[in-house]
Subunit: 506 residues, 2 copies
């Protein structure tokens, strides 16, 4: 057995010895039952310490190549290596792409991922995404609650909870729902790892490939992705200032038999629209008439900066047609990933089957903490204080957007929520504006991701006003308007004409 | 406007007023623009305080039925109620069952849910499930780490993280993987909300309905459920004391082209089997030969109570055919729901698409805490101390099971992990034994849930030895043996004969 070691390189000697012996075993030079020299002897031969050889032998034992017994020395315990190697010679690294299911194979939309990645770049002003202002996180309160909980029930906080969620939290949320005029028992409430998980469960429970699903247009891109991944044909219904256009909806309900209607009636994402009460009644009426369930997504409902509250669809629904989704992510913080769903019990039962097969239950310490937060009555005051701040930030952004006359940007002032939905001048190429803005250190979300057909929405961008501080909002909007102006000045007046030339002549 | 109130019933007066007015609006008795009496006037009429009426009107405003303006009084603002009501008269509560996708509709296997629910019954001795001993949770350490983290980076801990996980934790796990002889960069590691989530992602990424998936028989029921829900045909391969029988596997690989092979090579769930090194090489060889990926699930690998470690498949795999799953749930505690997957980067990319559409990312505070735990070097000592305890508990359970000669129960002593897999006497009816045991306050998991075809496994039960204390283990096993004895004494010697009579005569 010849081993050559090199004391001048940085690889530790014992690793060199291990690798040499391993290669000899792999190559069949050292066959099964071959007796290796004793540690002392090999150490002498190589001019190294005995402990170095011991270490090398230990590594090889851990790899399952050697074994040693008192008095019998150290032996090779693997055979068939030659044969194995012969087979392996033809082995190619696996091409994983061939194994992906056809639904997931083409999916490469990393929009949310890319956007979140961008937060890492500290110098970017971030109007994209929908993140609460970290300065408003009640960190000290959460810390205090946690402190008490660890003292009182440390072990329980680290153990499993029920699949549907920690019961006291379901109960506290049932109380919170009463404040939103929704009467629901804790058994009709399921705790989710963020309300996005509810979207996934809905998609998996209801959608059979090629089912039709109806959404507002534009709508939350996460919902679009979930429904499409489950194989749904997603059809958008336009909105006006009162919300989803129910006349068009009725035509679609007549034409298709959709599995459900997905809506964000209050301070809609991305448009900021607040669905009027009459429109809500009309929507319910259509759901009843055509026997179609409604999925009401309500992450922003309590973030109201002006006007009277309008009751949720769930609170108006008398016949159990509405599934209601909400979350703590937009009110408190998103890192804990805790949301909830209110649904009739047959639906909760199906969801719990999927829940136990995905993450079993939601993070328990976070469920305890949020339950404490609600029970101590801290929620209402927190809402009030963040609404004051966000109203101010919204006003700052609106003012900044209006500073330049003739910027070509137009928008409705949202009465609540997280976003301003801006129309940009016709003819501006979205990728060009995105690039120009990012060079100026500004990111926003381009409109097309909110449309079922991503070819739509090119005239819109979504701006979030909750995350950045007011200084950055002012500076960032200035830069954005610059980028819009520059892009507009580069619009090719003949582009429409050129585009028309490309179309086939019929 | 006539309102009748009843002061003798428990419904608050303002609610009675609200309900009466609401009914009148619904019924069209109070049409749109109808002026309600002033609060003062109505209070006088009804003989109640003014604040009661104010409260009732406020509720009606929140419901969107009334509005009031200074000097103009309070008016009804809803029309079309008659029409709405006419439509609604024919509305039936929605029958949700008709909307469920056909995959999910028949799913009603609540085994894990039911078992977890049972923990709530404090008087039950719990040999079912796979839960770490709560007495061994490092509660004080976690509390201390958390304390430091809140002081140092409270805000960041509550914010979003990257979809693939908090990078420092991915890095710490990459170091941990080195101790398991797996070399992987942080980019090949994705943090999961429990390793069960990995199973779900694998099912959704790889399985197209009617694909064949190969598993050990018996195997983890959660994996069976996930694969089946995704539409796979799941085929089991028997095991012997060295693990999966690779000769039978090869026949199946020849016959089918399976999407992947799912295995728990080390201290298998439920059988406790430790796959031999030679078998591991043989399994890899077959994977290479037939170009089939291997999913290696390793929740128990570090819980070794005797014998030498055997390297994981992932550490032996030279060609990137193995996806490796692990978790903190069995080593530390399960309430935080943090696991991880090590996979080639094309797979991590697909998983991150699904991750962002399900829970976006794993709970951030827990990722920070586990990262601190690993970085402070607390993991290795923790493993050592729990292995000592679990070895002891295993020995106690083995001794208790062997106390009665001729109990008819037989088993192999597992060299690690969480479970003892027991064969019970032929002829005992599983539901009867389950019932008898539960009457004696003992729960365990019946063998059939671990088989692809649940008609198999009726001669086995799985006992967990980590959760209960040694006193309960002794007492519980005594009771279980009693139940087995009683069930055995009731075996109908003619049952086989009777059963055969029921079969159609061919």
């Amino acid at each position: 057995m010849r081993i050559s070691i090199n004391k001048t390189i940085s690889t530790p000697i014992y690793i060199q010895i291990k690798n040499e012996i391993r290669e000899m075993i792999y190559a069949g030079t050292l066959p099964k039952s071959f007796s290796l020299p004793s540690e002392r002897k090999l150490a002498e031969e190589l001019g190294v310490s005995r402990s170095t050889v011991i270490k090398a032998y230990e590594e090889l034992k851990t790899l399952g190549l050697l074994d040693s017994h008192m008095g019998k020395g150290t032996k090779v315990i693997i055979e068939n290596y030659n044969q194995l190697l012969n087979n392996e010679k033809h082995t190619l690294p696996l091409s994983w792409y061939q194994f992906f299911d056809s639904n997931i194979a083409p999916a490469n939309d990393h929009t949310i991922i890319d956007i979140i990645d961008m937060i890492e770049c500290k110098n970017t002003i971030y109007f994209s995404g929908g993140i609460a202002d970290p300065e408003l996180y009640p960190v000290d309160t959460i810390h205090r609650l946690q402190e008490n909980l660890y003292k009182k029930c440390g072990k329980d906080m680290l153990n499993y909870s029920a699949v549907e969620g920690y019961y006291p939290l379901r109960d506290s949320i049932s109380q919170l729902m009463k404040l939103r005029h929704i009467s629901s028992s804790p058994k009709e409430i399921m705790i989710l790892s963020g309300s996005m998980q509810g979207m996934d469960f809905i998609a998996r429970t209801f959608i059979t490939p090629r089912d039709v699903v109806i959404v507002e247009e534009p709508t939350f891109m996460g919902a679009l992705q979930s429904f499409k991944l489950a194989g749904a044909k997603v059809i958008g219904v336009p909105m006006d200032e009162e919300g989803i256009k129910t006349d068009i909806l009725e035509i679609l309900l007549n034409k298709y038999k959709p599995k459900f209607i997905y809506t964000i009636p209050t301070f809609q994402n991305p448009s900021g629209t607040l669905m009027s009460l009459e429109r809500r009644y009309k929507l319910l009426e259509l759901a009843y008439k055509y026997q179609v369930p409604i999925i009401e997504d309500d992450p922003y409902g309590e973030l109201r900066y002006e006007g009277n509250p309008i009751p949720s669809l769930k609170s108006l629904d008398q016949y159990g047609y509405v599934i209601y989704l909400s979350t703590f992510s937009k009110i408190l913080f998103s890192g804990m990933r805790v949301g909830w769903i209110v649904a009739p019990s047959p639906v909760i039962k199906k969801f719990s089957i999927i829940k136990q097969m995905t993450d079993l239950h939601t993070n328990v310490p976070s469920q305890y903490i949020l339950d404490s937060f609600l029970r101590e009555g801290l929620y209402e005051d927190h809402i009030k204080s963040i609404c004051r701040e966000y109203e101010h930030k919204r006003n700052v952004m609106v003012k900044a957007l209006k500073k330049k006359k003739n910027s070509g940007i137009s928008f409705e002032i949202p009465r609540g929520g997280y976003y301003i939905w801006c129309k940009i001048p016709d003819g501006i190429l979205q990728p060009q504006l995105l690039l120009k803005s990012s060079h100026k250190g500004i990111v926003y979300t381009p409109g097309n991701v909110f449309y079922p057909e991503e070819t739509d929405g090119n005239n819109y961008i979504r701006l979030n006003f909750t995350f950045e501080n007011t200084k950055n909002i002012c500076y960032g909007i200035d830069k954005l308007l610059e980028a819009v102006e520059e892009s507009a000045s580069e619009i090719d007046p003949l582009s429409d004409y050129k585009q028309s030339l490309k179309k086939p002549i019929v």
